[in-house]
């Protein structure tokens, strides 16, 4: 199979672009080939229409009927424990890491730089040792 994840009713999506960038939402209905009706009661995304390219699909999915109300979406999300599951995904972790990096102060950036240098130095010396011994 070429694709593992599909856009379908109940698919949890991560919003990449737009006003609500960085939040997750659930696909509630398809408007046309390029637009989705989306709702994210737990993450503060209002029920709105998004373009397909604004959104990235995640592994997570809930069962909801097409066009169901926000209340139902919220209930199903909490039942499936989607917020906690999403936080474990690598996408969520990468997004959080990006935010953390942007919020680093000058001293913290210096510390990160030093840590990187030391780590890379260690890696290079071990690789060199391994090359020598082989």
């Amino acid at each position: 199979m070429l694709y593992q994840r599909y856009i379908e009713i109940g698919r949890v999506c991560y919003i990449r672009l737009g006003d609500h960038a960085g939040k997750t939402c659930v696909v509630v209905d398809m408007v046309d080939q390029k637009h989705l009706l989306v709702d994210g009661p737990e993450t503060g995304v209002p029920r709105c229409v998004l373009r397909l390219n604004q959104v990235a699909i995640t592994d997570l999915k809930i069962t909801i009927p097409r066009g169901c109300k926000t209340k139902k979406v919220r209930v199903e999300l909490t039942k499936a424990n989607i917020p906690a599951k999403f936080a474990k995904t690598s996408l969520a972790k990468k997004a959080a890491a990006k935010v953390a990096k942007a919020n680093l102060g000058d001293f913290e950036r210096f510390q990160v730089r030093v840590a990187k240098t030391l780590r890379n130095r260690k890696i290079r010396t071990t690789v060199r040792k391994m090359k020598k011994s082989s």
Partner: protein
């Protein structure tokens, strides 16, 4: 304005007296005036006077307190036949009057205020110098001097920046703060430049070969004293010494407006 008076909304500069009702609630007296569109009171002061029947109220006369101010003083005069003393006015009339009455400029009541220190700069905060010989260096702020400038020290031992004055406009404040102990009193006086020696006719042809040292011994001693207090405070924080040693640089993909300091 008295404690029993409240401002009335809708009428300019109007206060009503309040009175206590039987249930101890404060109730306003009726307002006799109102405002027309444009902020103009409807009734004039005399009209309101009439309406409120203030003529019926007892007028309280407060006697003007007269203060006797001495305008002359007695001065003793020498000489037998000069009458012994004379009355001299305290305020003398001017000897000259200008031919044309010129306009006096209005009183300037502006007074210089001490420079407001940025909220992000505190004694002990690490700061990046943006201009001067030491640009790019990270430095510790000791305090704000009375002149408004920041007193800054490398410390000299760590990055070669001595006790220096820096304007806060030429500085990026970082969020790092060093816990400084009590420092000796330092003012703007140490930084005052010594004037050039005035040319004296006698000394015109004499060479002044003895040059004064560029940094006074007093400054060097003060620097050592301050560093002895600041350097241990810096060493307490991990990696802070090497941080102060390093310089702030921009590289590819680094945009200052996106950075948080």
């Amino acid at each position: 304005k008295q404690w029993y008076q409240r401002r009335v909304r809708g009428v300019l500069n109007y206060y009503t007296n309040y009175y206590y009702k039987s249930n101890l609630r404060m109730v306003a007296h009726k307002v006799r005036n109102s405002t027309l569109p444009g902020g103009v009171p409807k009734l004039s002061r005399s009209a309101v006077y009439r309406k409120r029947a203030l003529y019926k109220r007892a007028k309280v006369q407060v006697a003007a307190v007269k203060v006797d101010v001495a305008s002359t003083k007695t001065k003793q005069v020498q000489g037998e036949k000069n009458g012994g003393n004379r009355q001299v006015p305290l305020q003398k009339q001017p000897r000259f009057y200008p031919t044309v009455d010129s306009k006096k400029p209005l009183n300037n009541r502006k007074s210089p205020k001490p420079t407001k220190l940025r909220g992000s700069i505190v004694p002990g905060s690490v700061v990046i110098l943006l201009a001067g010989v030491h640009r790019g260096k990270r430095v510790v702020v000791l305090k704000q001097l009375p002149s408004g400038l920041l007193l800054v020290s490398g410390p000299y031992k760590i990055n070669g920046v001595p006790l220096r004055r820096v304007d806060q406009a030429y500085v990026i404040a970082t969020s790092t703060v060093v816990d400084l102990p009590a420092l000796p009193e330092i003012g703007d006086a140490i930084f005052k430049r010594k004037g050039k020696p005035t040319k004296n006719e006698k000394e015109m042809f004499i060479d002044n070969t003895t040059e004064e040292p560029k940094i006074s011994a007093e400054k060097i001693a003060l620097q050592k004293e301050v560093d002895a207090l600041v350097v241990p405070a810096v060493k307490k924080v991990a990696m802070l010494q090497s941080y102060l040693k390093s310089k702030f640089t921009l590289s590819k993909g680094v945009y200052p407006h996106d950075l948080k300091f």
